[in-house]
């Protein structure tokens, strides 16, 4: 069956940003998102959460434009002051048109 080439944008951030980032992802035009509770360590060290190093991972399947909007917004809004990492890679999606 034919697949559509889209982008998987992954964001890992400290948990306190959860609601903000969900809102941002929707505003930028993503059709949905998947979040996972994760832990991690990075360069910022201490961050705020019930526990050390509790983070949340967002995975968003999007078209190129929406993807870039999300990436830009993350790096402008959060990168300076918060613990966050963001990366993107191409993925072949079933019925990909649904997520454009």
């Amino acid at each position: 069956m034919e697949l559509t080439e889209l982008y998987l944008v992954t964001i890992v951030s400290e948990r306190i940003l959860k609601d903000d980032i969900i809102q941002m992802i929707k505003d930028k035009g993503a059709s949905g998102y998947t979040i996972t509770d994760v832990k991690g360590e990075g360069s910022r060290g201490t961050r705020v959460s019930d526990f050390e190093g509790r983070n949340i991972k967002f995975e968003v399947v999007v078209g190129k434009d929406v993807g870039n909007k999300i990436i830009d917004s993350v790096s402008e809004t959060y990168f300076e002051n918060y613990a966050v990492i963001t990366y993107a890679s191409p993925v072949n999606v079933v019925r990909g048109d649904k997520y454009l």
């Binding site: 306190i16 060290g45 961050r47 705020v48 019930d50 526990f51 918060y82």
Partner: protein, 318 residues
Amino acid sequence: MESLLTNFTSPIVLAFLLGIISKLVKSDLEIPESIYKAISIYLLLAIGLKGGVELSTTAFSEFIWPVVATVFLGILTPIIAYVVLRYVGKLDITNSAGIAAHYGSVSAVTFIAAISYAETIGDPPEGFMPALVALLEVPGIIVALMIPQLFKSDSTSLKGAFHEVVTGSSIILLLGGLLIGYLAGPVSFEPVEPFFVNGFQGALVIFLLELGMITARRLEDLKKVGFFLVGFGIAVPILHGVIAIIIGLWSGLSVSGASVFAAMVSSGSYIAAPAAVRIALPKASPTLYLTASLGITFPFNIALGIPLYYLLATWIGG
């Protein structure tokens, strides 16, 4: 002194030490996060409920002045903390305000530990104290977060932070519990009492075991934060405690009530405040405010502060 020993043979304090030790020996012991959350929900709801049931049988006149005293100290303590941090400690405005917000608010667990200490030595405080905790949680944070705005040094998003505190789970559970307990009253509360009363002290043991482990991680940051903050984390709580005892007694609280009041006022928040500060003052260093309130003041209060405030209260008010 003897009352100090009582505190050191308390399973609660010993469990806290066990938690610290288990981290130092790198044990794989860990309390699942969901359990930690569940216990804190249970503890907050329980004190809320008990407080509410008490309120339903207390005359308004009895607790109006303690209420006034609480609000007043909720405004005063963050300012004291800020001044000390900014002008004695020479910290920048943002970090001073961020830390001050924690000392203006309250640590519910320190309050709970103070209550059960008072109960253990057979001198329980007024039943409406939990209402004061709920009242003390918010104002201190707001006051502290407003300071940087005066200096326009930092663009704070007060609104977000305010919503964060006011709808924070601890406020919802405390106020909600108070309301439920108040509406239910002693009779309707009876069937749920065994769950919320008998299990309370024991659940606290497990909770402090976990807090010991969290604190242990903080202790590693002690060197990072420097001597001043360590001194601050001990001296300022004592100062706030003494003020609280005097004003508390003046407001009509019993000796036991005043000592628990002192533990509340002197304590530093480590749940509501950090979340609010992280949002409103993202440039303030979490390492500083978390280490101060959780790494220094919390263990100090649990181990020494609580019995100390009781001694002072007896001495001043007895």
